[in-house]
Amino acid sequence: MQDLLWLIPALPLAGFLILVLSGGRIREPLAGWLATAMVGASFAVTVAVFADLVSHGEEERTFTQTLFEWLPSGSFQVGFGFLADPLSITMCLFVTGVGALIHLYAIGYMHGDPKFTKFFLYLNLFVFSMLMLVLGDNLLITFLGWEGVGACSYFLIAFWHTDISNATAGKKAFVTNRVGDWGFMVGTFLVWTTIGSVNYLDISAGASGVAAVTATAIVVLFFVAATGKSAQIPLFVWLPDAMAGPTPVSALIHAATMVTSGVYLLVRLNPLLFEAGWANDVIAWVGAITALVAALIAISQNDIKKVLAFSTVSQLGYLFLAVGTGNYVAAIFHMVTHAFFKALLFLGAGSVIHGMAHDQDMRHYGNLRKYMPITAGTFIVGWLAIAGVPPFSGFWSKDEILAGAWDYSSGGKVLWAIGLLTALITAFYMTRQVVMTFFGEEKWRSLTGEGHDPAGGSAVNAAENADADLEHSPAHDQHGLTPDFEPHESPPLMTLPLVALAGLAIVGGLINLPFSDQFERLGGWLEPVIAHEHEMPGGSTLVVLAIVAILAALTGIGLALVVYVRKRIPAKDIEQEAFARGFYIDESYSRFVGGPGRRLFDAVAWFDANVIDGAVNGVGTVTQVAGTQLRRLQSGRVRGYAMGMAIGAVLLVGYAVARMGF
């Protein structure tokens, strides 16, 4: 079955090609089904390969397949090759699995969209790219996928491109990612010049011989790449804007798969990370701080997708915290569970939006559990999972990250504390979201004709996005929310994936229970890939930490209930303006880019047009002026000419005299 490895990415690619070459002749819903089938088939192949790997001994669970040489240039030899090992297959499994579910969901969600086919075409291309990223047996193929997912993300964010803000969001995502790509490329160069190969296997083999400084540099560079793709401080700003894309896109790309690729990359390079010294501290701290900051921002968001977006950023922070503390298994574990529950939450949110005439403002929601019970039920599962309530999957994975941080050498306790606080806040804002959406009054009933409340920072954006969705998704009522609007549950095509994901979100923790080695299946499975195993705190500490984590989650939920159900504390006191506006980070970026950055660019362009080109034209002008001046000597008067000749003669004879011998 290993020989079929290439089929995993090839199937989605085939789907993409069929849809492209058909030139739009394959329409709704066939295009959707085709795309879904391709991803589903890909999932099947993945499972087969997985089974094959499992059947092998632990040491033989690594397999490469090179299709052809891609960029052979002297000693730089890069094949178009795939690497199947426990790590990549794990990734593949949830990429194709969750991907297939989201495709399915999208058939329903995108119903009626004029660009239905194009949507699935992009989606298939995305899955292909993501699989290349995951399966590539060297950094360059990963980079191919890395850029591919970036481009697809760009297409899909800007999918409804007639609204310029969507287009801007797409461009922003791409450009921000490109900043990270700089790190990826330079990192790749450094790896090659250091180790002589960009193959992962060679890197693993050669990592121990890499000097600490070099390893640190490499890891920092790749971390730069990861901050771009995985939306960490300082490059996280694109992800919230990326919610402009259709909701399945948010679920697939901006929650479950693409954004985790930074983590995947670093885990891939874990042998180098081991050598990298303080780079790990950087990763851990950036992760922790991102987690906290994003969680705080999420508190004040009113757009249902924005909350989830910041939540994603925050959860990704957790992953980096885990990677930084060397807890790779936990990172992958949480990545998987997060994929389940975050995809679930996004799809749930999509279902809500779908049912609410594409209004994304949570302040217009309320009591929706009555209208869309399946969505509400599954969403609540997701909520519990992300909040870290046992036994839902999120609890196990998050707890493992926190516990893993506890013993970390550089400020492990503080990292743990930050993580814990984040967990509390996560529970809080997720509770807030659930309460605002599914419980309480039916707030759209009291909407005035004026439409949306512009207060509350990014809500403005959210509203615009909502408008955009409204305008360009003609499947539903075009009129927006009116007091007499009746929400409805989504079609089975959409709820089916919800249910499936909810199931996974509940039981996902099973793959790696911390009770004993036997239960730590994921840990065992990934062992061949992880060069240096992470030491977890001892048994009792682990239990205490777990209990504290549960308490924190419950505290967060409780607080939220106090604020939003009992309304003991005014929400305004908690939903700080600074949170709502994302600590002004994005704004200051924009201000910089629009201000000094723009001025710098303008200055360069001015310099080019006036100084450099001016100099060129200046040469011409000088010639003209010189000619005009010289021309005055040509007065037309013959005596003047004779004078010139006489002077010339004097000079020549003078020269002769100067040269003569005496």
């Binding site: 004078m643 006489a646 004879v653 005299v657 005496f662």
Partner: protein, 234 residues
Amino acid sequence: MLATTFVEYAVWAVAAAICLLGALGVVLFRNPVHNALSLVATLFGVAVLFVAQEAYFLAAIQVIVYAGAIVVLFLFVIMLLGVDAIESLGIERHVWRRPVAIVAGAGLVALVLVAVLVGTAEVTGQPSSTGSLGGEYNDIERIGRALFTDYVWAFEITAVLLTIAVVGAVVLSRKPTEAALDEAEFDRVVEESRLDEDVPEELDDDELDELEADDEAVGSEDLPTYVDEPGVTS
């Protein structure tokens, strides 16, 4: 010997004086007729000097051809054209012209003399082995022999030169049958030039330069594209 030398010096001095005065007369007299007559004086002086240097035949030719033919031709043309009008030597467009001209001329002479006279030898070339000025033949014979031996080709070519001169004179002196195409333009330019010359001598450099500059500014512009209005052109 002394006497000979003295006579030589005397002849040289007198002839040189005639030459130089005549030359100055050519340059300084305002009436062309006087200029021509001064030229005759110079030519005569030169002829004397030829004699002093044993070039008797050349001296004769000098008088016959130069004074007798060339200067007469000059006078003839002066009379023909009636250009014996007095040239106002007091006016010069550029005050600097004369000083510069004189400095250039003097510099040229000085430099040539430095180059020629430094050292003791009169000439650096070696005396002729074949065409000695002494010997069995007289002056005319010597020249005649040289003309038909060493210089025979030059002599032949001279014929071409003279033919050209004749043809040229015929071509140039044909009376034009109709008015020149650029008569108006010519009149305008001459008029303009005349106006320039009315500039009083007292004008200082700057003002003259300004005048000059204005003049050139007009001249340096591209010619206008219309054809039939020469009066308006620059």
